[in-house]
Every structure is written in C-alpha cells, then in structure tokens.
C-alpha cells in the first residue's frame, strides 16, 4: 500500500463504522466501490494516480526549470520560444503540461496566471493547484483587478510595471519565469531552485531573496 489513509477504502460495502468517516467520505466510498466492482476502475491504477499527484509532481519541477533558465541562456531562449520540448530536456512534462507556454517577467512587465472558467494549471510543472487558485475570489478578481490581487499576496510592483494576465481558457498551460533575484551570482542551480516559490511561477509571488528562510 503506497499511502496511509487507505484501509478504509477497500471493503466492498461501505457503511458508517466510526466517527472518522464524514458523509462525503461515505458517499465517495460508495462511488469507488461501485466503479471498482463493475470493473471500470483498477484499484492499482487509482493508487498510482493518487500517489503520483500527491507525492511526485509538485512545484519542485517548475523550480528546476526556472533555475536552469537563470543559468543557461540557451535554455532560456528555447524555453521562451517553445516551452514544452525545452522542459522535456530536463524531464519535466506530462498530463496537464502537454502545451506549455512560459511568460518571462521583466522590469517592465509582470505576468499573472489564472483560469477564470475552471482550474487549468500546469500539473507536471507545479503540481495540483492550491485551493485559492481554484476559488471564486481569485478567478473572479485576477482579470479585473490584478494589481489589487497582487497587493493582497504582498507583491507591490512599481506603478510603471505593466501587468499581463494570462487566462488559461484552452489546453495551453502557463508558467511564469520570474526574474532572478539580485545577489545570487554565486549560487549553483540547486541553490537557485530553492529560491523559486510556487507562487512566483503563478505570478502571485516573487522568488525568495538568497539567505531568506524558506
């Protein structure tokens, strides 16, 4: 068994057998039982899917892409020209990242990614999206008042910096390439990757400064 909370899911006839099971747990358990028993779902596939997205994919993948782009101008160029094959060079890609676009922040322009219509997000690059990214306030406000949204995330940009919002309305998926922080000249790629936060690749944050606690 690859994970912890599992034993409550594998008896055939779900029923209330303890206060730890919420009505939603019971409802989902019923659905799972039926779909598995009818042969539509292989329990091993279910386990593998959950394990993949719970433990394997995550923003560390995107951070590697960013760090590489910071140290390798050729990679950066390929990444901005056609992100999907460039990411594949370092083993990043897959479901939910089949058609990647990378938008580079500059002193003049800051990029911000949203999906107003649902929750599109580059899974293999950033993992599953956080609740706030999928929530009505973010989806509603990012396109109409992005500067106010950024301020709420503690990101204060100069007045002159333009804000470019990307609404993920098709199967393209977006990652922001943040600017490399000052004072990082001596850092190697792994140390740089450690400065790259998830939010800095959505556009709602900036990379950590070197020496700042993570």
């Amino acid at each position: 068994m690859p994970h912890d909370h599992h034993d409550e899911h594998h008896d055939d006839h779900p029923h209330p057998h303890g206060s730890e099971l919420s009505p939603m747990d019971l409802r989902v358990r019923a659905l799972e039982s039926v779909l598995v028993e009818k042969g539509y779902v292989d329990p091993a596939a279910l386990d593998a899917l959950i394990e993949t997205y719970e433990t394997k994919v995550g923003p560390h993948n995107g951070a590697r892409v960013v760090a590489r782009a910071w140290v390798d101008p050729g990679f950066r160029e390929r990444l901005l020209a056609d992100a999907t094959p460039a990411m594949r060079e370092i083993g990043v890609g897959g479901r939910g990242g089949e058609h990647m676009v990378v938008a580079a922040n500059t002193p003049d322009e800051h990029n911000l990614v949203v999906c107003t219509l649902c929750s599109c997000y580059p899974w293999p690059v950033l993992g599953l999206p956080p609740v706030w990214y999928k929530s009505p306030p973010y989806r509603a406000r990012a396109v109409i008042e992005p500067r106010a949204v950024l301020a709420e995330f503690g990101v204060a940009l100069p007045e002159a910096t333009r804000i470019r919002v990307w609404d993920s309305t098709a199967e393209l998926r977006y990652m922001v390439l943040p600017m490399r922080p000052a004072g990082t000249e001596g850092l190697d790629e792994a140390a740089l990757a450690a400065l790259v936060t998830r939010d800095s690749m959505i556009g709602t944050g900036l990379p950590r400064a070197p020496g700042a606690s993570s």
């Binding site: 899911h9 596939a45 993992g127 989806r139 509603a140 990307w166 309305t169 098709a170």
Partner: protein, 220 residues
C-alpha cells in the same frame, strides 16, 4: 454556458484566502475523487471537455457553494449515471445491483506512470489556413451558447490583438457534447484592461486569453 463557472470580473467574493503549508488534499475523500475522475476519464466514455461541462452545469448557487472536489464528485456521479455505468441506487448504497456496461478501456496500474508522463496532447491538424495573423485586430464574438464554451463572458464583444497562432486544437464546444473534436485554429488574443473593464481599469493591465477561430471576427 453562462453558469456559475464563468467568474472573470465578478465582484463580492471578498479576499483571496491562501493557506500556509496547504496539503495536497484536505480530506481522504478528496484524493479518491481526484483518482476516480482520472481513472474514469481514461475509460474513454467521455472526455475532459465533457467533464468540465458536467461540472459547470451544476446550478450556479450550488456551484459557488460547493468545494472544488465536491463539484468534481457531483459531476462524476452525474456522468456515471448519464452514461448508464451505474444507477442512482447503486451510488446511494455502494452496492452493485445492475450489470456493468462495457467501456472502451480500463486503465491498468502499470499504465499510469508512462501514460501520464507522456500526456494527452490536444493539438490536431487543421487543413485550412489560419484566418488571423499575429498583430491583427479581432473582436471576440457575442455568443451565449447554452452548452459548453471556452469564451468567457468578459471578453465577448471586446476588441483585442492576436499575439500568437498556436495551430489546430480540439474544439471544446463540440467535443464536450461528444459531437467530435472538430479541430480549429487556436489563438492568443490580448485585450486591454480598458477595453474589458472601462476607464476605471487599473493602468497598464492587459488580459490574454486563448480563443478558437470561430470565437473571433476581424475588425474591419
């Protein structure tokens, strides 16, 4: 569909609520729903656009007051029932009482890693040449289809600039109703904040959306 999902530009939701050290899932059932939705999608009974359509067809009040994975769950239950894969009674009891229906394929445990690492590309060849070119001014059409569409309300009728031509992609509006992939040219169209929201828009603000060719018309 102008449903609860079409949120761009709405007001009154209050602040965004980031959660420090957010877990991947907030309850055991959430991860099961996630996995079940992926696994059932892999049976080929429906497609990703149909699943989006099922989620957004919850009544708007229910959509806006349901948690994210609760929306997934309700949509998945609807799809399973609508396609005859299980009955309401089976879902209520968790006990199988009707024979299984055939599905196109069943995802095996060993297939997950290679299939999901490869992904499921949505680009498709389109024979006709692209109607619009980078740099061209276009207008998002005023359309209000009762079914699934990926043209958000806030850009409809608004002028924008084509900034990228991406090739052919599956057209969600037909694909969602299982009426064919009918691929179309896909563009990135950039709109100014002022054109979208008026003179009080934040300065220097633009929004880019991905728009299918049939969502756009030339500006003469």
């Amino acid at each position: 569909m102008n449903g609860g999902q079409d949120l761009g530009g709405m007001q009154g939701f209050g602040p965004i609520a980031p959660e420090p050290n957010e877990p991947r899932f907030h309850a055991p059932w959430e991860k099961r729903v996630f996995g079940l939705a992926m696994a059932m999608g892999a049976t080929g009974t429906w497609n990703l656009d149909a699943s989006r359509a099922a989620r957004e067809s919850l009544p708007p009040g229910e959509y806006l007051t349901s948690s994210y994975y609760a929306i997934w769950l309700k949509a998945l239950e609807r799809q399973v029932k609508a396609h005859g894969l299980a009955t309401a009674d089976e879902l209520a009891t968790g006990t199988v009482s009707a024979p299984a229906a055939p599905v196109k394929r069943v995802l095996e445990g060993t297939e997950v890693a290679p299939l999901f690492a490869r992904g499921f590309p949505s680009d498709r060849p389109v024979a006709a040449p692209a109607r619009f070119a980078v740099g061209e001014r276009v207008r998002a059409l005023t359309i209000n289809p009762p079914g699934h569409t990926r043209l958000p309300r806030y850009v409809r009728g608004r002028p924008g600039l084509v900034e990228a031509v991406h090739g052919g992609f599956i057209f969600p509006d037909t694909n969602a109703r299982l009426a064919g992939e009918a691929p179309q040219w896909l563009y990135t169209v950039r709109f100014s904040g002022r054109d979208l929201w008026g003179e009080a828009a934040e300065p220097g603000h633009t929004v880019s959306v991905n728009a299918f060719e049939s969502y756009l018309e030339p500006i003469p």
